[in-house]
């Protein structure tokens, strides 16, 4: 299945998951993104790299940030962009996922950017689209969110330059987080020294240590000597499904406070994929504080998504 993303020459054609991608491919994405960083700061924020290409954002699940940065990334590359919010569209009228894809395919599009609530939806679409179309996974169920992971890697590299000596912790609802899964794979591939996950047992998936992480159930142990702190968003519905007693207790045990932040290295950076629950997983003073790189992540998201779109659209599918 890892070959699903690569064409015969071993080049990236789809971008569905970090799993199975080499360090070289990930580094190529980061380097390409770096070259796009300046574009957003120019008076004319456009390059003609994808002129004449049509990109369809297919969002089966609501999203503001991810959809917007994908739209901006595509338009800065001069592609034509169409965003479809499926929650209010055809599938709610009973059309199947496959029929939606086939219909759009018939309109000669070049790329699908897909977000879907079910794990594996990205794979399924990539397996069932015409070979000239590239598919980018913008989040599928609890499986993967590889573009978010890459923009996080990009941000880490910006501040820390070298992945090798880093100790990184991902804190929060790992069980339901597609972001955490993709981050863990990316950090492992890029070769950081240590990856930790910090959460109560109700929010950790079984056998998580086999993903190549150290498991901590308290912040006091988990934060010690860190270079990078990644907070994961806590969904409100976790309280009603007997996973956590209350937001207050969660913040008390796993919230990132000024005091706890001192346990990490003094130059540690604080990241969050957004949207933030202030006072639930992170104190406002930290989210807006000097160690926070949360807004930098958002800006970097555009360059990283431009890089991934350009790289995948350069490489043709297998059966062409």
């Amino acid at each position: 299945m890892n070959n699903l993303q690569l064409n015969k020459e071993g080049k990236l054609h789809h971008f569905i998951t970090i799993e199975g991608l080499s360090k070289e491919i990930l580094t190529e994405i980061l380097d390409t993104a770096e070259s796009f960083l300046g574009i957003s700061e120019q008076p004319v924020k456009k390059v003609p790299l994808l002129r004449g290409k049509t990109i369809v954002n297919l969002f089966f699940e609501n999203s503001t940030r991810t959809r917007t940065t994908f739209e901006l990334a595509a338009s800065r590359l001069s592609a034509d962009v169409l965003s479809i919010n499926i929650a209010t569209s055809a599938t709610s009228k009973g059309e199947s996922l496959l029929d939606t894809i086939r219909n759009l395919e018939a309109m000669h599009v070049d790329m699908f950017v897909v977000r879907h609530a079910i794990s594996g939806a990205g794979h399924f679409i990539a397996q069932n689209t015409a070979p000239h179309i590239s598919v980018i996974n913008a989040g599928d169920g609890q499986h993967a969110h590889p573009t978010q992971a890459m923009l996080d890697m990009f941000t880490i590299r910006q501040y820390k330059h070298d992945f090798k000596p880093l100790k990184v912790a991902i804190i929060g609802d790992i069980l339901h987080s597609r972001v955490a899964r993709s981050q863990i794979q990316a950090l492992n591939t890029l070769g950081v020294k240590e990856i930790r996950v910090v959460a109560p047992k109700t929010l950790l998936p079984s056998h998580v240590e086999q993903l190549g992480v150290k498991v901590f159930n308290t912040m006091e142990e988990g934060l010690d000597d860190l270079d990078v702190i990644i907070m994961v968003r806590l969904q409100k519905e976790r309280m009603t499904s007997a996973l956590l007693p209350s937001e207050q207790e969660y913040f008390k045990c796993f919230g990132l406070t000024e005091e706890r932040l001192k346990l990490a290295k003094p130059d540690a950076i604080v990241m969050h994929p957004g949207p933030i629950n202030r006072g639930v997983e992170i104190a406002s003073s930290i989210a807006d504080g000097p160690q926070s790189v949360i807004l930098q992540q958002v800006s970097n998201g555009i360059a990283v998504r431009m890089a991934i779109m350009t790289l995948t659209l350069q490489n043709k599918g297998d059966s062409v």
Partner: protein
């Protein structure tokens, strides 16, 4: 009816302790004798079974025919043809058809359809509760009279343990076998894969082993309380095997079966997001598989079934968690059993007993043996014949199997049901 002489085969009949090369004689749809030639026997048909194995026809405890009601997935005709080609001469039909098998009319309809398909031994399992709702008791006495072989709530959970207790008591007073899928639904929690490294890696909702082992433990306590004859359908995990073994030692009348694919595949074999591996209970770990094989060898698990569930293409076309679970598995039953023998997990006699003598005993059917006077349900197979799972070699309407494209050793060449040849392998198709 014709007289049939099956000559020179290796006859294996675990019920009668026979394993020797010789002949089998059939007349009037019944077995006349094995090995010894009866006096004045002139065969109308002679089947040369040289280098073939001749054994009782297989009895499968769980085969979804999808008929009545779900005929876009399979029909009684297509699936009994698949059964015949797999050497299966008797099959139990779980009650989750449309209509659900909870009335005499539904049972009569199935018998009627089976007769039209010329497949005699379809045994309907009646619903334990009306409409499988899991709340009230079904009319078990009437259902038994109409000809159900056992009662079960299929894969639908019961409302609570009190309903299960009452159902077991009531079934027991009508001397009906209760076949039960041990699952605690709250712990199953809409999962679609074994809760473990695989489910974590691919972000799939997991089903812990405890959802099965807790249900097994509860049912065992109820079996003790109610003195009910209980059969566990398609167990999948190590701790279930251990609990059943302990209960049997304690003297409870408990039996269990395992789906053939659970004895082969584990979570590590699943190709990511390939829906043909989506099955319930899910493929578990290598340790679980090891224990299931051990349980089969030591007799804790007495029966191998196919747990045949054919599906239409659409049912499997989608993201993994959204697809329907189940494998079309009748036609790979024999080669996968033989591969257990090849792996030395069990011996050939045990493997055949798990498909013949043992299910017959659990169901209380006078079948599954080559004793004189029994219905001549016979399977003849070539253990060395290779074949590939592809459309040319496939009879089921469902092509949903993770073994699609696999080449196997071992193929049925003839199937007889009540002395009638219902399947002959056409050469040059393999």
């Amino acid at each position: 009816m014709s007289k049939i002489h099956i000559a020179n085969g290796r006859i294996i009949d675990p019920a009668n302790n026979i394993d020797q090369t010789g002949s089998l004689y059939i007349a009037d749809g019944k077995i006349l004798s094995a090995i010894e030639a009866p006096a004045d026997f002139t065969a109308d048909i002679t089947i040369d079974a040289t280098e073939h194995i001749v054994c009782p026809g297989f009895i499968d405890l769980s085969v979804r025919l999808r008929d009545p009601g779900l005929t876009y997935k399979g029909t009684l005709q297509s699936e009994t043809t698949a059964a015949a080609s797999a050497g299966v001469t008797s099959l139990c039909l779980p009650p989750d058809t449309r209509p659900i098998i909870d009335s005499q009319a539904a049972i009569e309809l199935i018998y009627d359809k089976a007769e039209k398909a010329n497949y005699r031994h379809v045994f309907p399992i009646a619903a334990l509760t009306p409409q499988l709702r899991g709340i009230e008791l079904s009319s078990m006495a009437a259902l038994k009279q109409a000809g159900c072989i056992a009662v079960s709530n299929a894969t639908v959970p019961l409302a609570n343990l009190l309903v299960l207790r009452r159902a077991m008591e009531y079934a027991s007073s009508h001397d009906l076998l209760v076949m039960h899928h041990p699952v605690e639904p709250a712990l199953e929690n809409k999962g679609c894969a074994h809760e473990g490294f695989f489910s974590t890696r691919y972000g799939l909702p997991g089903i812990p082993e405890a959802s099965e082992s807790i249900a097994v433990a509860q049912c065992l306590e109820l079996a003790k309380l109610t003195d009910c004859k209980l059969h566990f359908s398609q167990i999948s995990c190590k701790s279930a095997v251990i609990k059943i073994q302990q209960a049997q030692k304690y003297g409870l009348d408990i039996s269990a079966d395992v789906a053939i694919h659970q004895l082969h595949l584990t979570e590590n074999d699943i190709e990511p997001f390939n829906s043909s591996y989506h099955v319930l209970p899910p493929f578990r770990t290598a340790k679980d598989r090891q224990m299931l094989r051990k349980g089969l060898a030591n007799g804790t698990i007495k029966v191998i079934c196919s747990d045949h569930q054919p599906h239409d293409l659409d049912a499997k076309l989608g993201a993994f968690p959204e697809t329907e679970p189940g494998i079309s598995s009748l036609e790979t039953l024999l080669p996968l059993m033989l591969s257990l023998v090849n792996d030395k997990a069990i011996n050939l006699t045990q493997g055949i007993a798990c498909l013949t003598q043992n299910p017959a005993e659990i169901l209380g059917l006078p079948l599954g043996a080559l004793s004189p006077g029994l219905d001549a349900d016979i399977c003849i197979f070539n253990p060395d014949l290779s074949w590939t799972v592809n459309p040319q070699n496939w009879n089921s309407a469902g092509q949903n199997t993770p073994f699609w494209g696999t080449t196997f050793k071992g193929r049925v060449t003839h199937t007889l049901q009540s002395g009638k040849i219902i399947y002959t392998l056409k050469l040059n198709t393999s």
